[in-house]
Symmetry: D2
Subunit: 356 residues, 4 copies
């Protein structure tokens, strides 16, 4: 997948190459996922009023994918770049303004963060929508992400049914109690012109054992690389994650067992991956999302023209906590990686059904 | 870099392609790093008696790299495969025996874990030795890893001087107090035929701002992918890492400041990377290493031939805690990624000096 | 570079990733090259009336490239797909109808040849326009292609001045005498509802010595791979090409000489490349273009539904000889490869000039 | 596949990554192909006395491939570097001495041509031997190359049976009459301290329709790139090749027909490929090999230290015509590309048979 476009440019787009031919695909399949990421779903999100309507420009013919590259575009409509003139020379703390300026010599489109805006994840979600569809229809693989922490408030243990319901609450958390606290906390920092970080867990269910190409293209490696393409991710863990540092081998090793004639592990500290290869158990990974960098509070920065320190207050329309809207983005990236590994494992035919 | 070889095969090797011509390189440069990873450095490590002597087979001529692929080999000498016959059909919990068997249809070399043994990291360290030398000599970049946690015992805050000294203690921890506790704890679990996990922090000092190729080839993404090639890694964090979930934007955003005419950030929750691009501050990342999977305690597993559950006790010579020996491996992977990004940023000439 | 779109779909597009920031770039730079490839330039070409107007959707801001992916699109306007219903089941000889049907299971967009139409080279020319601009402005490299054979009529020896003038004649041949014969011959076969093949030579002038990454990424290898992406190419030669089979070493070896303090070769059978690396002399390559496969004459084919042989007569608007319009396409592909090698040789800065 | 090693270094080696597990593979499978390329097979070849015995260092266990990288090595034994001191500063015409010196700043191993020696093709043949075995055993694909021209003497039309017999004559030509003339001509130029070029045709039989990934990874594109990795190749043609420039569409288009219920083309000007995708007919390609650059005759060159013109006479043991020994090398490269495309077409399982 390739991504193009800028936050305040003409559009955000994605080109998916290597999609098998014969997949029934319509605008609706993409739009459904885009709507999950779209701003304005609740009072907790930015007020930027984008409908984010996708157009498919190539690679689909008579309702089916052709096997040719699929180009998808969302035109930017509600653009207000007036607030961004300063950031070119007074980089916002926590943002890519400064590093993008260095990397691209100041030629980067700084408006709305340009390529470094969360808006760029529109392209990930478009590509991920196709990946999820392939995984679901061909391999019955389901990708499910949900919020497990916001501002230090952690969700308690939840079951699969609750996780599926998480989609219906404004923070996408499966734990009702924690949800209420999270919402309250978000509104509080919103009032303080501040923001909150959090964490998302993603499950990939029904992934067959045997995916992954060690030593360098492990499943964890490819997943973590893809997840770090999401702006604001600060950690990627699998299974036990950071807690593995506290454990002994006898606690951490998942014993093998037989259930209904299949090899399983009753516990899953491995997160569904051993030696970089899926073991048939659910793949479980977690990402930490840092607090939204754009906050209204005064912050110290520098003026790059006169090289003096100064203070800025960022205006504009920002999410006080981006975690809920990042949930479908995490799913998209996980789906894209798993579909790639499934293709290289010969699990997905190059043509889904013959037409002639 | 490409890695080949098996734990109990003839050798472990690496081929480094794309190394600039004109780098003075000898066996010693590689050997120094291999010695840091070699078993038998203290009573805390495996008794496998490998000297791990490197041979350079190609790509070096009259003491300098030629620009051609550099093949390096360490021959396996102290091999005892007698203990491994069972693991083909009775996979060891926490190991790749089962997943490798599925992935490669049972044809994988299972002796000593084969390709999935920690021994494979010999190849990483060989490649990393070249990368570290290039970074040090051309760009004055220093890569420094050290143990920050073992079995739940965390190192306290330490300074750069202490971190540099960590190399000299058996667990490679910069905090003297924690070191003592860690050693004691390791010996304890060793007696219990069990093992311990831990965590390593890696610093990359003096990395110039501007490295990284968003959106998909971010510096974090490439680093985390490389780090997950190390067996046993369960998490990769940058800067604030998992703690970002607890923070507000005003806490997490590193303010910009001017020091000696340069843009810096007094705090470094970003871990030296903003928007996937280095910002000139030290790159700080952390990995969690799970407890060594090979433990002597009886464990439940399955017999893949009769598909019945059974119990195994793993014999063999294993590290009760692999964390200290993983320190140079982490450095190697970080160095390999940074040198790649430095090359694509035109910071490393294709020829280090002209000979004619 | 990535290409998307279909002959009779909504558009043809290209995404160029990795373009340095700070290149002044406007629609006009692209349009100039597109106009050279556009149909309807003379009576010798197809009557499909496309204006082929480019839109730049991303990666350019305030007149300069930003370093982000550049997406360019040409909307298809003059589409008449009525003539193509049959080709799905009765593949046209010499076309990709049959192989595309097998490869994509019949889901490929067959209208106008879909992805296999010469129209797809619009995307190559768009990408090549940027590459040519970079090469010209940064390295003073000039890429010049011209027709050297059509239907067995070969151009005689011509000089650089004549080659530059070739652009102004309808077959883009530098030899005036041959031009007249070529035009006459094309009109003749046009009357016979037949078509002609030919050959194009491409020169890359001022390429510095030292480009190419043997053994697998030789300059010839990358150029030939790129040139074979042009539909209808049947051979790629460098320097002496097929004539090398007749020669002795003493004839073929280009002697080295000194001119104005520089190493040159007075002859250039090497085609500017030795051992896969440029030697500083002009790179000279030749491609053979097969006769346009779409001809009005009755041809034998098969019906894939009843698996019986049958006869077709292809209607539609086709060039009797595609060679002249392929000239800018050949230049585009050569430019794209050379710019890639120049980038990996550190000859092109990541930022062309600093803005701040 | 990756290649390493130098002509007069310690060894020449190859690493093949991505080979399916479960292929029965022994040293003999590789050695058989190496013997075909080995010097000293007749009086027409170099006198360098290498036995070229392969050692398999990794990736094979108990007689079967494991799915891990396969490293193969041939140690260099009969090295005489005494003749090469001069070439560092007085580059041999037609050789890579000059361009390698520029590219690698003079640090390249110049002895015997180093990385640019024909000896490097030992690594291609080792990799190709595995590819040929997979293609033959899994897909019944046969790769057959033979000499069709030497020094302007062209082989007449021959049938498949004759082509298979070509292996048994010293120039590997299927035409007995031409063979005699070729041998005579080679001996003649040998006496004159000169050398000859020639051409090789390669057939790939039984390749299924549908291989190739247009637009950029066409079958021709990947084959030609691989073939240009062979030193001395000056042209790559498919099917009609350069003759297409003389033809009309009605001559060139291969009509489709039905034979035994299958779609075929009675003629094969396409060379088995349409639109970059195999059509099920034999793939036919041709390469031109330039005359061996190393000749005993005096030649003009330059001295790079004093930048003056000078004359050299090359000593050493060189083939007067490398074409016959290049035949197995061409087969190797064709096999490697086709096996790659077959893998991406899901035609080759990741595991050839299950062991457990």
């Amino acid at each position: 997948m390739l991504s193009f476009g800028e936050s305040h440019g003409r559009c955000v787009g994605a080109v998916v190459d290597g999609c098998p031919a014969g997949l029934m695909l319509s605008q609706k399949d993409i739009q459904r996922e885009l709507n999950r990421r779209r701003p304005g779903q609740s009072e907790l999100t930015t007020m930027r009023g984008e409908v984010d309507e996708v157009e498919i420009l190539s690679g689909v013919f008579e309702g089916y994918t052709t096997g040719a590259p699929i180009c998808m575009i969302v035109w930017n409509k509600d653009i207000d770049s007036s607030k961004y003139e300063c950031v070119k020379y007074e980089p916002r703390p926590g943002h890519a303004d400064y590093t993008a300026g260095v990397r691209y010599g100041g030629f980067n489109d700084h408006r709305g963060g340009g390529r470094f805006s969360g808006r760029i994840t529109v392209s990930y979600v478009m590509g991920g929508a196709i990946a999820k569809k392939i995984l679901g229809e061909i391999l019955k693989i389901e990708i499910l992400a949900h919020t497990i922490e916001i501002g230090g408030i952690k969700a308690g243990s939840t079951n699969l049914e609750e996780i599926k319901q998480a989609e219906n609450n404004p923070v996408r958390c499966a734990d009702q109690e924690a949800t209420k606290k999270m919402i309250k906390r978000i509104k509080q920092v919103q009032g303080e012109k501040d923001s909150l970080g959090g964490a998302i867990e993603c499950l990939a269910l029904n992934v067959p054992a045997g995916l992954g190409d060690p030593v360098f293209n492990t499943l964890e490696g490819d997943l973590s690389k893809a997840l770090y393409a999401i702006p604001a991710v600060k950690s990627v863990e699998f299974g036990s994650g950071v807690d593995a540092a506290k454990m002994t081998g006898s606690q951490h090793n998942d014993p093998f067992a037989i259930r209904e004639g299949k090899v399983i592990t009753p516990s899953n500290y491995a997160g569904g991956i051993l030696g970089g290869i899926s073991n048939g158990m659910p793949i479980t990974c977690r990402v930490t999302i840092k607090p939204t960098a754009s906050i209204g509070k005064p912050q110290q920065t520098v003026n790059l023209r006169n090289m003096k320190e100064t203070t800025i207050e960022i205006e504009g329309r920002h999410d006080p906590c981006i975690v809920p809207r990042a949930v479908p983005v995490v799913e998209a990236m996980v789906a894209l990686v798993i579909v790639d590994h499934a293709i290289s494992a010969n699990l997905i035919p190059r043509v889904l059904e013959k037409k002639i």
